[in-house]
């Protein structure tokens, strides 16, 4: 009797964690919609505060959309592990007897879906209010899909590292921001190229490469950080 009676496989345990995240997301639709509403707010508040000259607007539109996406996915990360830590369910995840990296990867993946997909879907709305031409939409949306993935996976490491001590998402932003700055720069540049009608393939490939790196390495770091921060 050295282990549990008959343990489940990692994929099916990860599927449970994924399912649980999605169910929770649906229960707390308000929280789920927060990043995307925030994104739309940021992108529509600008025309209000700036003098609305369409020519100027089109110039800064890609940057505004990408800054909005970065900020809103960053903000959604603060609660990623914090809520689980507070109610004790994070301990249960650690004690599941599964490789922790696999379980947290499922959790972060679910978070990406729940945060990233609404952002990508809302992008056309934001873009049109900033008079981005429709031709640039595919690049914008694809770029956001990849870019939010990088942000969420890299950000998860920061979220796990800042669990210990008092809650302070400032630390999180400070840790994560330098790491995801390239995403912002390449994403905005790719969109800008698409707006001017140039090819944006280079930027998108770069984002894809970053995403692959983040998805493979970040869960290991997250698992290590979670173990350290439970006390």
């Amino acid at each position: 009797m050295s282990g549990a009676r008959d343990p489940v496989s990692l994929p099916s345990a990860a599927a449970r964690v994924f399912g649980r995240e999605c169910r929770l997301g649906v229960r707390r639709v308000g929280e789920l919609l927060q990043p995307v509403t925030f994104f739309l707010m940021v992108t529509t508040l600008f025309p209000l505060a700036l003098s609305p000259e369409p020519s100027l607007m089109r110039n800064i539109a890609p940057g505004v959309v990408w800054v909005g996406a970065l900020l809103s996915s960053l903000l959604s990360l603060e609660g990623l592990f914090r809520a689980d830590l507070d109610d004790g369910t994070l301990e249960q995840l650690v004690l599941a007897g599964q490789p922790l990296a696999g379980l947290v990867a499922a959790k972060v993946l679910a978070h990406w879906l729940l945060v990233g997909v609404p952002l990508v879907l809302a992008a056309p709305l934001a873009a049109s209010s900033l008079s981005v031409p429709a031709a640039a939409l595919p690049v914008l949306m694809l770029g956001l899909a990849l870019g939010t993935g990088v942000i969420v996976f890299v950000g998860a490491v920061g979220a796990a590292l800042t669990l210990a001590g008092r809650r302070g998402s400032v630390l999180l932003s400070l840790l994560v921001l330098p790491l995801v700055m390239p995403v912002l720069i390449f994403g905005a540049r790719a969109t800008d190229e698409a707006v001017r009608g140039d090819s944006a393939a280079g930027g998108l490939w770069l984002l894809l490469a970053m995403l692959i790196l983040a998805v493979t390495l970040a869960p290991l770091a997250v698992a290590a950080a979670v173990r350290i921060c439970l006390e």
Binding site: G30, P47, L48, P52
Partner: protein
Amino acid sequence: MATWTWFHRLASPPHVYRISGAFLPWLALFTALFIGYGFYGGLVLAPPDYQQKDAFRIIYVHAPSAWLSMLAYVTVAVAAAVGLIWRMKVAHAVAASAAPIGASFTFLALLTGSLWGKPMWGTWWTWDARLTSELILLFLYLGYLALRGAFDDRARADQASAVLAIVGVVNIPIIHFSVVWWNSLHQGSTVMKLARPSMPGSMLWPLLSSLLGFTLLFAALLCVRLRAEIIDRERTASWLRPIVGAA
């Protein structure tokens, strides 16, 4: 004290349910009459404007729905305040029923306004004071409805949303006087200065009739929704049993 008990008896759910049922057919009838004359007079009889051609005819929907968007909000806020201060459940039911109607009229005003804006100003939307404050009104309605939805408990939903409705009422004068306080793209007040109307009678009378008609429409819709709301709230009460059983 006598007026007080009279007030409360007047506001009891069964009484309100009965009275609103009795008003409903009359409201429907006069709504049809006034809106009918307003639309016929405005869309068919009135001559095309010398500047705007036929585009101005959208005023017969736009002005009334914009007016109703504000009236409905004031209704919500006043009902909510009454409910909060005198703990009157029917008043909360009125607020809850009026809000979605008001949100719809707000949406209609924004829609018709921006349809009209395209030929008039060459753009669907600008961040002008009146337009922005009307959009804010829509957001306020949406926030009010979202706040209601966030509570499991109806009594608390009533009270919390009442606080919000009262706070939000500051926006109404802003909408109305926005054209006066800021130099706005939007039309100044035309209808309300009856002393020197800046509109020929053939355009004005249908507009006034459709204003009245929309107001009656609001009242009629309010009655319908209020009755449904009362049934939902009082579903366990004994006075409802014969009524619901019969239906």
